[in-house]
Symmetry: C2
């Protein structure tokens, strides 16, 4: 660390794995690259740190990219740092270190393509991983999904996919889709009612057929860790599948 200037200069980007549920399917936001390298291929949205010194932290860059891409306000999503990626020659233009972020939210509308994207769209996880993405974005996407899967087990992160008020069955559908399993509705209900807070007033949103569900929201007062998530009790094991 004696003389920093003797070491090679890097570019630093923040790339985003933005996941949401659309029609009960787990989807990821991808852009189509407008420029080389990987022109025309799909990639995770992202961009370089500190356009004109606007970013003061790594998170600023991630939040800015998130806003540009989805038009969503930061407080509506869960955002956490995922992992950092670099291998020699990973980007042919110059050495680029990418700090990947995981963003989860109830994002409804269509996406807006930023400056460097020809278009931006939602893709199901299977469709996205079934093709070659730009750079090492296949790996980043896999890591992001794995992180989300793991966090369902010991946090209330599933609720970040849902609007502010939701039914327990909505939470269950998130688990079922993200884990790819079927869960027993009865047992799930019991476990989760303790995790969330019942909304008393609120007319029961009456969507489909069947008995209307009570609405819940995330508990505000409980202990949250640095990531803003509430730990859920001992284990919600991935093996807890019905049948």
């Amino acid at each position: 660390m004696t003389d920093a200037t003797q070491y090679p200069p890097f570019g630093v980007t923040a790339d985003l794995v933005i996941l949401t549920m659309r029609n009960d399917e787990l989807c990821v936001a991808l852009i189509e690259r407008r420029a080389e390298p990987y022109k025309g291929q799909l990639a995770l949205p992202g961009g370089f740190v500190s356009r004109h010194g606007a970013d003061r932290t790594l998170e600023d860059t991630a939040l800015r990219e998130l806003r540009e891409e989805t038009g969503i306000e930061p407080h509506e999503v869960h955002l956490e740092q995922l992992k950092t990626y670099w291998t020699l020659g990973r980007d042919p233009r110059q050495e680029v270190v990418t700090v990947a972020w995981l963003a989860l939210g109830p994002i409804q509308g269509e996406l807006q393509s930023g400056s460097d994207a020809a278009r931006a769209d939602w893709h199901t996880i299977d469709a996205a991983l079934g093709q070659r993405l730009a750079f090492d974005h296949n790996q980043i996407l896999r890591d992001g999904i794995e992180r989300a899967r793991a966090k369902l087990e010991y946090t209330d992160v599933a609720a970040t996919f849902l609007p502010r008020q939701f039914a327990i069955a909505d939470v269950r559908r998130v688990y079922e889709e993200v884990w790819g399993v079927e869960l027993d509705p009865g047992n799930f209900q019991r476990k989760m009612t303790g995790v969330f807070e019942r909304v008393q007033d609120a007319e029961p949103r009456n969507v489909g057929r069947g008995r209307p569900a009570a609405l819940y929201m995330r508990k505000a007062r409980e202990y949250r860790d640095a990531s803003g998530l509430v730990p859920i009790e001992p284990p919600f094991r991935r093996m807890d599948a019905a049948r």
Copy 2:
């Protein structure tokens, strides 16, 4: 991402949170900085990526720094990426992004100071966190310890602190020290014998008084995740304290 060269150049370092047990105390490796900034203060060991293109991946840098600092061979330690840190002006010389790594191992000997360090020594966690470290290294160290604590709960990572063969009580002492709790020896025994593999031959290493303990090692064949750790069964809860 249109023109990478318009963005500011960053230096990239790998800094290490190297934890080990010495005299049943959790200790961290710190260096005393030889040069400005923070000259004379304690800091996590680390260094810039790719001195003369020697590093082809981020992990290469971490492994190289680890070897230089501890003289330890990579296969003897558990190494995982922790988190990446940057805020504007974090390093007064130039903008530096630091990829922090967590290294856990049964590191016995003294430390060798690298080129940029006046000296390198082991410090207990309390001593290290009780003073002002260079840069944002207090935060990085706290994050590293928290990661280690969390991983004890659902992996066999405790064994990475120990030599290849160990007694169950050794594992228990790791949990007790890292979590700062007392665990019931009997119940701990039962849970952990399933996690590890008994070494049949191996004369019972006879250290202190009392009945000599059977030796165990980590299971080689079981499923290991990408980090090389074996998941341990449902929950080893932090609350599982005795008394």
